[in-house]
Subunit: 372 residues, 2 copies
């Protein structure tokens, strides 16, 4: 693979992602400073201010409607194939912030069917375990259960299936093949699956019997699904869902982006394991201390720096100082890693406690179409 090559699909992210190229490849729009001003509280939001969430579809339309008093709801989700790592939680945290900014309803979809279908080795028992596990991490982030419901595809299929059928009737194999790169050897469940991921984008309209705008915050890798959803929407008489796209938190092993294994910090990792992962992280540093003092290092390619930037250093001035000290050679990688480690351990300590408490309120988040 050339340095410039990268792959971003809902099921595979590899290579060094060129996020600007994705905007033109996918045909999305940048969140401009003008647009940002229309989001209440956006300047106080790390993810928007730092362009971690940087691209969108129809956000302007959504905000215009909101300004006119037409409320929207939020929809995001998770494919439960394994435990939860920091990179997974990033869009969830942003979603919670959006929910607070706008006071909206949120549906969180656990696509356990997707993971079962797309991962050869996974059983439904595996995805069921991962669903519960991921759910705890989601709930631990502090969502308001009166406004937040978790849809588990295999459990709540009765509420999704009719909408999914309507979507699936409007999507040909040609389209699915073109959008997702399916082959003749792809299983027929995987081919159908995108219809299920479309369903929550229309579920509020179905339940209320009138069209309700929907905003989907997600990693930009999920955009292909929602391109299909958006193409189908007018054919079924629904609004197209608006989207707000985020970048993916780089893995600690550096270079290539990855969402699993050694490269990521899981919420179930012990402090020992976290320490090992952080201290062994790839950095933008030099081969020797002497060289680094003399020439400085490169934070732009450093996953340790990106962990500060994406999530763990909310103070812009401190982040800037880290950046300049790294560039100048004043900050060495060991010290920088220790600082990150301390932040990660603090985050995880608090998260573990909230995660334990989450176990007691899981049932408050169960989706029930009748009471929504």
């Amino acid at each position: 693979m050339d340095k410039d090559e990268f792959t971003v699909t809902p099921w595979e992210v590899k290579g060094e992602i060129d996020y600007d190229r994705l905007v033109s490849l996918f045909g999305t729009s940048y969140i401009t400073p003008e647009l940002l001003k229309r989001i209440p509280g956006s300047s106080g939001n790390l993810f928007l201010r730092r362009k971690i969430f940087y691209s969108h579809r129809d956000l302007e339309w959504l905000l215009e409607n909101h300004e006119k008093g037409k409320s929207f709801y939020l929809y995001t989700g998770r494919g439960p194939s394994s435990g939860t790592h920091l990179g997974h939680m990033l869009p969830w945290i942003f979603t919670r912030q959006l929910q607070e900014m706008f006071g909206t309803q949120l549906y969180f979809q656990m696509t356990d069917d997707e993971k079962f279908l797309f991962k050869e080795q996974l059983t439904l028992e595996d995805t069921n375990r991962a669903t519960y596990d991921n759910m705890l991490d989601f709930i631990a982030l502090g969502f308001d259960p009166s406004k937040t419901k978790i849809i588990v595809d295999t459990r709540d299929i009765a509420h999704l299936y009719k909408i999914a059928l309507k979507v699936s009737k409007k999507v040909t194999f040609s389209t699915a093949k073109a959008v997702f790169g399916f082959k003749n050897s792809t299983n027929i469940g995987s081919i159908f699956y995108t219809s299920i991921q479309s369903a929550p984008a229309f579920i509020e309209s179905e339940m209320r019997g009138t069209n309700v705008p929907c905003l989907i915050p997600c990693g930009i890798d999920q955009d292909p699904h929602f391109r299909v959803t958006r193409d189908v929407a007018p054919l079924l008489g629904y609004y197209k869902p608006a989207l707000i796209h985020g970048k993916m938190l780089p893995g600690l092993s550096g270079g290539k982006m990855s969402s699993s294994g050694e490269a990521a910090i899981y919420t179930t990792d012990s402090d020992e394991v976290i320490k090992k992962k952080v201290m062994n992280a790839f950095t933008g540093g030099r081969a020797t201390v002497e060289e680094q003092r003399r020439l400085g290092a490169n934070p732009d390619i450093c996953p340790v720096y990106h962990h500060y930037e994406f999530l763990l250093e909310p103070d812009d001035d401190k982040l800037k100082k880290t950046y300049t000290d790294c560039r100048s050679g004043a900050l060495l990688c060991g010290e920088c890693k220790l600082n990150l480690l301390s932040k990660v351990l603090n985050f995880m300590k608090a998260h573990r406690e909230k995660r334990e408490k989450a176990k007691e309120i899981v049932s408050d988040f169960v989706f029930n179409a009748k009471v929504m």
Copy 2:
């Protein structure tokens, strides 16, 4: 289309069907006289005796297990796209007889999702109406609600979806394309659908937590679905369902087989309409009375005769007399049609009454996985 050409797929039946050629094309087996002897009460059964149900898969295995005390269950169904006609009810009546012969549990699947997906013009409201309509005809045939449950795909999807996912993971687009003739323009719901039709073949095994043999009585046009089901079964650790295949009741307009419109007698047709359909039926008769008296007619190509044979003349001697009198020219088409009309009207009169009563017990047939 040549005279010899015909099409038999789960969604299209046209041309003059060569049922022997289907056995070799599909790779099924004839129900031999030896096998017939092993079915208790088969000699008293019109459909078996007259080879209306004439082909099978693994029926021998099923009967052997049954003889050893291993009970099986029955599964059949209906795609609710329109009202019910005599041809639809034929396999249901046979299924009820099988249920009585063996004292087994029966699942009847209403594939409303299938009809919605495969018929461009149908809405889910249309298929919902047809489902209720067809259900009444099914129940009117006298099924025992304690042993018979109706699965409506969109209503009962929660009980089917996980099994369907497991099936769909084992079926590639190549396979679905080869079996069903799908194209790139086929919608992704239709491609997935066969997984849903497979589910009831495994549902009893899933619910009991142990493998239970399943027998599927159906029109031979449905065999492609269950070839897929049977191929997948061992990969998922289930028994392959056994099948018993029936011929399709020819339409009254003759020549080409058809299941709709003028060619078929619907349970909601008035006596006037039925009379018109029967009296206008195509027959194997001659151009003039004189010619027919002299040369005789041909019952083998006559849908009026086939209506006697398939359902409405249970007395073999009387059926034989009709056949020979037709051949000899002693029986003219007008008289024969009037006789059939009288039988159809009697059947429908009784059916309408039972259909009305069925409305009161629909809820007794609702599928509920927990109580089965």
